[in-house]
Symmetry: C2
Subunit: 475 residues, 2 copies
C-alpha cells in the first residue's frame, strides 16, 4: 500500500499509478503498447461497450464486422486518407513461408475495408440510409510513448459508417451521433465539449471533423472520439452510387463516428482521485463489494449475511462481489477504493444482528441499508452516487476553462483557454505556439462559461468573422 | 427465387447457397477467405457468443483479452507448436515505413501470447486455478479452398486457457469443459460426439486432444472445437511455476478449450433443409417475424395489429421483426424461411378481427395464437419448435453412423463408420486409406448406436486392447 502520486502536480505519473493499482491492464506484454486486458479491466470495457451498443442501436444503426486485413490496393484509393496513415500502419507482407502478392494493412480504421463492399450493397435510394457500426480492434504503429488506453498500438475501437442520400442527411446524421454521444457520456458521468476541428487538423479525407474533447486538468485535453462528415470524398473513389427516385445516378454522402478505449482512459483520468479510480455505476466492473467484518469473537453470522446480500444483489441483476478473503477489512476497503467500486457494504456482528449493512460509497458518503429493503436501497445509493460523481466532474469541468485575451496570456496556461480567433490558419498556428499545444477548434455547443462576445482575433487583431475557439494541450 | 441445390447429393453447393440465401455473410470482400459479417449474420454470432459466455462463466472462467500480435521470439518457444503453425500464420514485418526489429505473428491461437504473462501472474498455489477465456478473431493463412464459417482466414474464435496445480486437476478441467459444451450444444440443438484424437492428429504441443465432431451427412464430419490437455508441455518452456503449499516449485498443468465460427457453419449444415437455414430460438437473429397480410380491400387493421404484436414481443425480450414491406406475403414467407426464423406470425383481416395471429413455425407446424395470451403462447411455440428441431437433428445424427467390419467395407462409405481398432498408428493409417478420410479417434462417451463389443482390429486382426473408434471424412 503506497500513496499515489499527486494528480495535479504529477498527472501522468498519477494516471499510470491509478491504472496499475486498479489492475485494469497489464503492461508487461513483451511488445510495448500492446497491453493485456485483465479480467477486471475487461469487465469495465464490456460494460462500456454495452452503453455504446445501446445508444447507437437506438438511432437505427446495425452491428456488422468487416475484416481486419485490408489489401494495399484498396487502402491506396483515397489519396489524402492513405497519406494520413501511411507512416503508422502495420503491414502484413508474408503468409506462411512466402511473400503475399498484395500486402495487407492491419486496419487503422475501416473506410477502405468497408467502402468497396458498400458499393455492392447500395444500388437504389431505397438502400439508404445505410447505418452500420462495428466494435473491433484497430492497429497503429505508434512511435510516441504509449500510455494505457490513451495511446496504444492495438486499440479497442467503435466505428460507425453511414451512407446518406445527400449532404443535408449526412449533416443530420452528425447531429444524431452527437445526441447519441450525449447519452453515452451521461452513463459515464463524463463532461466534454463537441468541437469542430480546424481544417488543418481534420481527419484525413474528411470534409469536416467534430471532435469530442474532455479537459483533464491544467491545459490538458483528451480527444474521446470524433464524428466526420465526408461529403463525397470517399464515395467518388470507391464508386458508392445510387439511383435516385428521378433515375439519376448520385454519389452518397458519408459520415463516420469513432470512439475507442480512450473513453476508459478519460473516465479514469476525470473521475479518479487521491484514492484511485472511480467508476459510475453504469460501467463499474463491480457496482457493489460486500465485505464481512470477521474476527475471533464474531462467529460466522456476518459471513453468512454477506453471502446472502451478494447473492440477492446478483439475482437482481447487480454486479456484486463478495470479498470474503483473509485480508483485514482495512486492506479490503483500500483495495476496492483503488479499484473504483461505487458502493461498499460492510456486515459486522452488529449489522448481522440488526439485519442491516453499513454502506460507504466511493465518494465517502456513509449510511445504513436495511436488508429487508436491500435492492431498493442499493438502487437509491447508486443513483445518489452517480449524481454526486457527475456533480464533482461538472464542477471540475467548469473550472477547466478560462479566457485568454492575448497571445502573451497563453504562456504557461493552467486551463484550457478560450480565445477569439478570426479563423485563419496563420493565426491558428500563432495560438498553438502561444499555448505550446493545439487550437482545438470552435465549439459546437455553448461554452461551459459565458465569456461574452468575442473581441478581435488574438492573432492578427482583426475583427471580421471572429468567433470563440478553444486552445489546449492534447494528451 | 430459385430452388436450393440438393443437400444429400450436392452438399457443399447446398451449404454455400443456404449461407448466401440467408444473407449471413458477404464473400465479395476483395481478399478470398476474409468475409464480411452482415447485420443478419452478426446477430446470429452475437447470440451464439452469448451462449458461450453464459456457459463458460458458469464454470468460473473470466473474460480477458490478449494482444493479436505475437513477437516471433515468443512464438518460437514451444517447438512442436511453432512447427504446427509455421506454414499457416500471417507475418507482420513492417511498421509504418520501416521493417520491424522483431517480426510479429497475427495470433493463430494464443498460447504463445498468454503464457509469458501467465508466468508473471502465477506465483503461488493460491493463484490457482487460473481459468480465463477470450473471444477474439484469430488468423490462418489458409491455402485450401475457403468456405464461409468452416474454413476462413480471419476466424471468430473462443479460447479458454487454464492453469491447474497438477495433472488430475487439469483432467478435471477437461471434464468441466465437456460439461459446459454439452449445455452450449443444447442451446444450438446440435448433436455431436466428443472424440479423443489419435496421437498423430492431436494439437501441436498437446498431451491429448478431445475433439467435438458433428456428422454432416454421408461420411462427412465437422470439428466444432476441441479441448486439450497440455500437461507441462507449455509451462516448462514458458516457465509457468508456482510455489506449492510445501514450499516446492512446481510447473502448472494447462488446458485449453477452443471453439469458433465453425459452430455457426455446423448449425447451418445440420439444421438446414431444402428451404434454407434453420436456427434454434436461442441463437436465431430474429426469433419471430410478424407479417401483416394486406390488400386493397383490407384496410390498415392488420398492419396496426402486426405492429402491436411485434412491439409487445420486443418489450418482453423477444427478438421480433416486423416485415411491413411492399412484397407480397408469399415472397416474405419464402425469404424468412430461407433465413431460418423459428416462428412466423401472420395477421390478416380475419386474424385482426378475431384478435389472433396464425402461427407457422420453421418446421411447418401451424397454429393460432390468441393475442391476449401472446407472450406465453409464443414462448410455448418456440419451446415446441426447439424440441422438434432437436428431435429431427437427433434422428439424423443416429442415422449417421454404421459399423464397418473390415477395411474393404469402408470403401464408398455413406456413413461415419464405427470400427474396431487396436490403437496402433499403422492400423490407423490403413483405416484412413480405407475410408479416404481420417481416423477420428475413440469416443469419450457412449456411441450413438450400440455396436456390442469390438471384435479384432480391422487393420491387423489383433484382439489385444481393441476398442471402438470412428472414421470419417472431415470437412
Amino acid at each position: 500500500m503506497t500513496d499515489l502520486p499527486d494528480k495535479t502536480t504529477a498527472f501522468m505519473d498519477w494516471y499510470l499509478a491509478v491504472v496499475e493499482a486498479a489492475n485494469l491492464t497489464d503492461k508487461r506484454y513483451p511488445v510495448k503498447g500492446l497491453n493485456v486486458w485483465t479480467a477486471y479491466g475487461f469487465r469495465a470495457r464490456r460494460n462500456l461497450d454495452a452503453v455504446l451498443v445501446r445508444e447507437i442501436e437506438a438511432t437505427g444503426s446495425e452491428a456488422v464486422e468487416f475484416p481486419a486485413l485490408i489489401p494495399a490496393t484498396e487502402f491506396a484509393k483515397e489519396k489524402e486518407h492513405i497519406k494520413g496513415f501511411d507512416a503508422e500502419v502495420y503491414w502484413v507482407t508474408k503468409g506462411g513461408l512466402s511473400d503475399l502478392d498484395v500486402p495487407l494493412v492491419l486496419r487503422p480504421t475501416s473506410e477502405t475495408a468497408m467502402y468497396p463492399v458498400f458499393a455492392l450493397w447500395i444500388r437504389s435510394h431505397r438502400d439508404l440510409p445505410l447505418n452500420v457500426y462495428q466494435i473491433v480492434n484497430s492497429f497503429r504503429y505508434e512511435t510516441k510513448t504509449t500510455r494505457p488506453f490513451v495511446r496504444v498500438r492495438e486499440i479497442h475501437f467503435f466505428e460507425e459508417h453511414t451512407c446518406q442520400a445527400n449532404e443535408a442527411h449526412a449533416t443530420e446524421r452528425v447531429r444524431s451521433n452527437l445526441g447519441a454521444f450525449r447519452k453515452m457520456a451521461d452513463a459515464f458521468a463524463l463532461p466534454y465539449l463537441a468541437i469542430r476541428r480546424p481544417d488543418w487538423d481534420k481527419f484525413p479525407g474528411a470534409f469536416y471533423t467534430v471532435a469530442l474533447d474532455s479537459p483533464l486538468g491544467g491545459a490538458r485535453t483528451l480527444q474521446l472520439g470524433s464524428i466526420h462528415h465526408y461529403r463525397e470524398n470517399f464515395s467518388r473513389p470507391y464508386a458508392i452510387q445510387y439511383e435516385a427516385a428521378d433515375g439519376s445516378q448520385q454519389f452518397v454522402h458519408q459520415t463516420t463516428f469513432g470512439l475507442s478505449e480512450r473513453l476508459l482512459g478519460a473516465i479514469v483520468a476525470v473521475h479518479g482521485d487521491a484514492k484511485g479510480a472511480v467508476f459510475s455505476s453504469a460501467i463499474a466492473p463491480y457496482q457493489v463489494v460486500v465485505i464481512p467484518i470477521l474476527g475471533s469473537d464474531v462467529g460466522e453470522a456476518p459471513l453468512r449475511v454477506a453471502e446472502d446480500v451478494a447473492a440477492r444483489l446478483r439475482r437482481h441483476g447487480y454486479r456484486a462481489h463478495l470479498d470474503a478473503g483473509d485480508d483485514r477489512p482495512g486492506a479490503k476497503f483500500y483495495r476496492w477504493e483503488q479499484a473504483g467500486v461505487p458502493l461498499r457494504l460492510e456486515v459486522g456482528r452488529r449489522e448481522a444482528e440488526a439485519r442491516s449493512a453499513t454502506s460507504v460509497d466511493r465518494l465517502g458518503t456513509k449510511g445504513r441499508v436495511a436488508l429487508d429493503r436491500l435492492e431498493g436501497e442499493v438502487a437509491d445509493r447508486l443513483a445518489e452516487f452517480d449524481r454526486a460523481l457527475r456533480a464533482r466532474a461538472d464542477a471540475a469541468f467548469a473550472a477547466s476553462f478560462s479566457v485568454a485575451r492575448s497571445l502573451a496570456e497563453l504562456a504557461g496556461s493552467t486551463r484550457v483557454r478560450i480565445v477569439a480567433w478570426c479563423g485563419s490558419e496563420a493565426c491558428g498556428h500563432q495560438i498553438e505556439s502561444g499555448i505550446d499545444g493545439a487550437l482545438l477548434g470552435t465549439p459546437e455547443d455553448a461554452l461551459p462559461i459565458d465569456p461574452g462576445a468575442p473581441g478581435p482575433c488574438i492573432g492578427c487583431g482583426g475583427t471580421e468573422s471572429t468567433r470563440w475557439a478553444l486552445a489546449g494541450q492534447p494528451l
